[in-house]
C-alpha cells in the first residue's frame, strides 16, 4: 500500500518560519487556501499578481507563493487597474481586500474600477467589523451586532449594512459577482467555484469580477470558533445570501 496525498496544504502555500498569524477559528486562512488552490488549478501561478490591502488578510501577500504588492489602505483597485493596463491581458491581477478596505476607505476605487470595467478581480472578505483594529463598526456590520463603537448593538441611527455583491452587480461594467462562505465543506467547494469563475472572467477579458467571502471573526465577536461559525450560518447568511448575482459572457 502506498500513501497518496489527497488534501491539505496547497502547493502555492508558502511555508513561513513563524506561526500563521490568524486567530483561532478565523477563516482568512481558509480563504487564502482556496485562492492558492484556484490559482493552481488555472495554472496561473507564474503570471498572477496579488494586490493586497491593509487588514488581517494582509499576510496573504506572504502566504501565497505568487508575486504580490502590499499597497496603501483602500487603494488596491486603483493600483490593480494601473498594473493590469501596464502588464497586459496575459497577467491576472487579483485584489485581496476586506470589508473595511474595499467598502469603507476604498469605496471609491472599488466602485469606479467596477464602473470602468477594469479587467481585474476583487476578492473581498467580509467579517462584519474592522478585525485588525479591534472590532469597530464596518459598513457590513449587521443590525444589532455589538462592536467597540456600537456597544449597545448597531441600530438604525448607524445605518444599514451594504450588500456589496448585489450592489456592485448592478453596475454595467461588471462581468461577475458572487458571494460565498466557508461554513461547510459544500460551501467551501461552492466558494472555490465562484472564485475560479471570477478569475476565468478576467482571463477571458470580459470585465470586472467581484467575489465576497463571508468569514468568521471569533476574537472580535467574543465567541468561540464553533459559535462564530454557527452565527455566520444563522444570522449572517440570511442577511447576506450566498450565490451568484451577475454572470455575463459579454458586456454589450
Amino acid at each position: 500500500m502506498e500513501k497518496k496525498w489527497i488534501a491539505g496544504t496547497p502547493r502555492l502555500w508558502r511555508d513561513i518560519p513563524v506561526i500563521i498569524p490568524f486567530c483561532p477559528g478565523c477563516q482568512h486562512g481558509t480563504a487564502v487556501k482556496a485562492l492558492c488552490e484556484v490559482i493552481d488549478e488555472l495554472g496561473m501561478e507564474k503570471n498572477s499578481v496579488l494586490v493586497v490591502g491593509i487588514g488581517c488578510y494582509t499576510m496573504a501577500s506572504i502566504l501565497v507563493d505568487v508575486d504580490s504588492a502590499m499597497i496603501a489602505h483602500g487603494r488596491a483597485c486603483d493600483i490593480a487597474s494601473a498594473m493590469k493596463r501596464i502588464v497586459g491581458k496575459d497577467t491576472m491581477v487579483i485584489t485581496w481586500q476586506g470589508d473595511g478596505d474595499a467598502l469603507a476607505i476604498g469605496c471609491e476605487p472599488t466602485i469606479h474600477a467596477a464602473a470602468r470595467s477594469e479587467k481585474i478581480t476583487t476578492f473581498m472578505i467580509n467579517n462584519g467589523n474592522y478585525g485588525t483594529t479591534g472590532g469597530q463598526l464596518a459598513p457590513t456590520t449587521p443590525l444589532g451586532q455589538v462592536t467597540t463603537t456600537t456597544p449597545f448593538g448597531r441600530n438604525q441611527d448607524q445605518g444599514y449594512p451594504i450588500q456589496a455583491a448585489e450592489f456592485i452587480g448592478s453596475l454595467k461594467g461588471v462581468a461577475y459577482t458572487a458571494r460565498g462562505a466557508f461554513t461547510s465543506p459544500a460551501n467551501y467547494q461552492k466558494t472555490k467555484k465562484y472564485m475560479k469563475k471570477a478569475l476565468e472572467k478576467q482571463r477571458d477579458g470580459v470585465g470586472y469580477s467581484f467575489v465576497e467571502i463571508l468569514s468568521t471573526c471569533p476574537a472580535n465577536w467574543h465567541m468561540s470558533p464553533l459559535d462564530s461559525l454557527k452565527r455566520v450560518e444563522e444570522e449572517v447568511i440570511p442577511l447576506f445570501p450566498l450565490g451568484e448575482f451577475k454572470d455575463v459572457d459579454k458586456i454589450e
Binding site: 500513501k3 500563521i20 477559528g25 481558509t30 464553533l226
Partner: protein, 79 residues
C-alpha cells in the same frame, strides 16, 4: 479498514476545533493536550474509520492537516 490516514501538524494548529466538528466519522477529537500557545490540540483517535474524504483539511484554516489515501502500490514501485 482505514482508507487513509491524516497527519496533524501541531506547530500550525491553533485549536479551533473545526476538524472535530466537520469529521462525519468522528475520527478527530480535541484532546486535553495544549500547544506552545496554550491552545488545545486535536487527536486522530479513530484511524480505522477514516475514509480520507478530505473535509477536515478543507475546513482547517491553518492548513495543519494533510490527508493521504491508501492506494495499491503501482508495479513500478513495488519491484
Amino acid at each position: 479498514m482505514a482508507k487513509g490516514v491524516i497527519e496533524i501538524k501541531e506547530n500550525r494548529c491553533r485549536g479551533c476545533g473545526f476538524c472535530e466538528m466537520f469529521c462525519k466519522k468522528g475520527c478527530i477529537e480535541m484532546s486535553t493536550r495544549v500547544s506552545n500557545l496554550g491552545l488545545p490540540l486535536p487527536d486522530f483517535i479513530n484511524p480505522d474509520d477514516c475514509s480520507a474524504c478530505g473535509m477536515c483539511a478543507w475546513m482547517c484554516p491553518h492548513t495543519a492537516i494533510e490527508i493521504y489515501e491508501y492506494v495499491e502500490a503501482s508495479p513500478a514501485t513495488a519491484l
